[in-house]
Symmetry: C2
Subunit: 269 residues, 2 copies
């Protein structure tokens, strides 16, 4: 089974995949659009995509793509984001003058840079790509910040493990594919809907769940392109395929301009 | 009056400021945190900050800062985002081989690059900063994509105006200051609240507005740092200081873990 990820091998999506489907083969794609294309055109049978992070928030582009394209959410997973300082074998921390990584990762390791004033943070397009770069260039005065998986992937050594400031750093991932398969034990549903532009519209939309005691674990809004100041809502409800959920979705369709189920899957943990 | 903006002079925030307060002096700051610091410490009497864009969505960092800091929203404004190709005087389009701009701006001008295959898009940290760079370097084979204000600021010439793909591209800005001043005609309120982690909590929160016929023009959620999978909501209601709004906010405080009013101001347009 081949699974697409955005970013280089060793990216956090790769680590998330390895934990969900250890035997899967990875297809590294440059952009998120390439990831969706790969699955839609059959070059990969699924993709692992980050959807939200507990510090940075939603991955907006992936919400937009879930709506624009036709892939189905089959699973969710949560990964604790651990940032490691990685360098070529034999390099010591005292040798390091520059550290490459994605700007978000650099920003999440500020304490490390505060404690090592002689080390300069250098923004790079990708965390795992930074490890690949540092190792390929055989630089002895450089390191990168990335996942442990990235160290394995490029033969790097972890100089300092878990240098992230905030340990409450988790990313939620979706496994998406073309097949609308619902796994056994599915107890969570992700959907998108657009309310009419009338007072109380969102309140009415949420009533279809509240009046049936269906819990909402998440709601997110995104702008609608071409229609300024209008929004699409993305919601996760803690129900799978049952009568109450079915009725709630029918009820929601009565109220909304559109409703689309993006996937029904087992809740992580 | 000195007003802080994030980015170089000529940034879209500068253009928004010029339209709201034409006589104000600009204080250009490197980061959004610097902008908030400048106002809090009195180096500027206000700041203009983008809060959402109709294509890209919310400016998450500014939502986070509005909650973390104590500045007050005094005004909102909306600016149509027009991207212009700007170069040093005398440079012709046929000379241009590289175009510098912020990645979001480059992404919003894809048609231009499709029609001019010989021109390479080069990511830069800031739109106006790209104009400054191109002019300062006296490069004849380079141009930048930025606001008309940036061309004025650095003595650039507009080679092609309005090269953005989607004309429905607007950014909403807030003018924030330390004074909790409510301008005459204020008919909109921005607030932040956190619901208790119980089923139907958001539905109950929205009921305080719906049951009083108060319209919600926007709702946005952001993760709470240190409390994974919990969220703060930001809402805008179409009411100023009146009895219904006052009662709704008291009612909301009964239901929520916290409620904070971020500003009461006249709605744009």
């Amino acid at each position: 089974m081949k699974v697409a990820i955005q970013g280089e091998r060793g990216a956090f999506s790769h680590e998330a995949l390895r934990r969900t489907l250890p035997a899967a083969e990875v297809l590294a794609c440059a952009t998120s659009k390439d990831v969706f294309d790969a699955v839609e055109r059959g070059r990969a049978s699924a993709a692992v995509i980050p959807i939200e992070n507990t510090l940075a928030g939603p991955v907006a582009e992936h919400y937009d793509l879930l709506l624009a394209r036709r892939l189905w959410i089959q699973r969710e997973s949560r990964l604790r984001i651990v940032h490691n300082l990685i360098a070529a074998p034999g390099v010591r921390l005292a040798d390091v003058r520059e550290v490459y990584s994605h700007p978000v990762a650099l920003d999440q390791c500020r304490d490390f840079f505060r404690r090592h004033r002689r080390i300069r943070a250098v923004p790079f397009y990708d965390t795992a790509g930074a490890v690949k770069h540092v190792i390929a260039q055989e630089r002895r005065d450089c390191a990168a910040i990335a996942s442990r998986q990235a160290a394995r992937e490029y033969g790097g050594e972890v100089l300092r493990a878990a240098i992230e400031d905030d340990k409450q750093n988790f990313t939620r991932f979706f496994l998406v594919s073309r097949q609308k398969r619902v796994l056994a034990g599915a107890n969570k549903t992700s959907l998108a809907f657009a309310v009419k532009n009338v007072p109380g519209a969102l309140f009415k939309a949420l009533s279809v769940f509240a009046l049936r005691d269906i819990s909402l674990s998440r709601i997110e809004s995104r702008p609608v392109k071409g229609r300024p100041w209008e929004y699409v809502f993305y919601a996760d409800i803690l129900r799978g395929r049952d009568t109450a959920a079915h009725n709630a979705l029918s009820h929601l369709a009565e109220i909304c301009d559109f409703v689309r189920v993006l996937g029904i899957y087992p809740a992580a943990r």
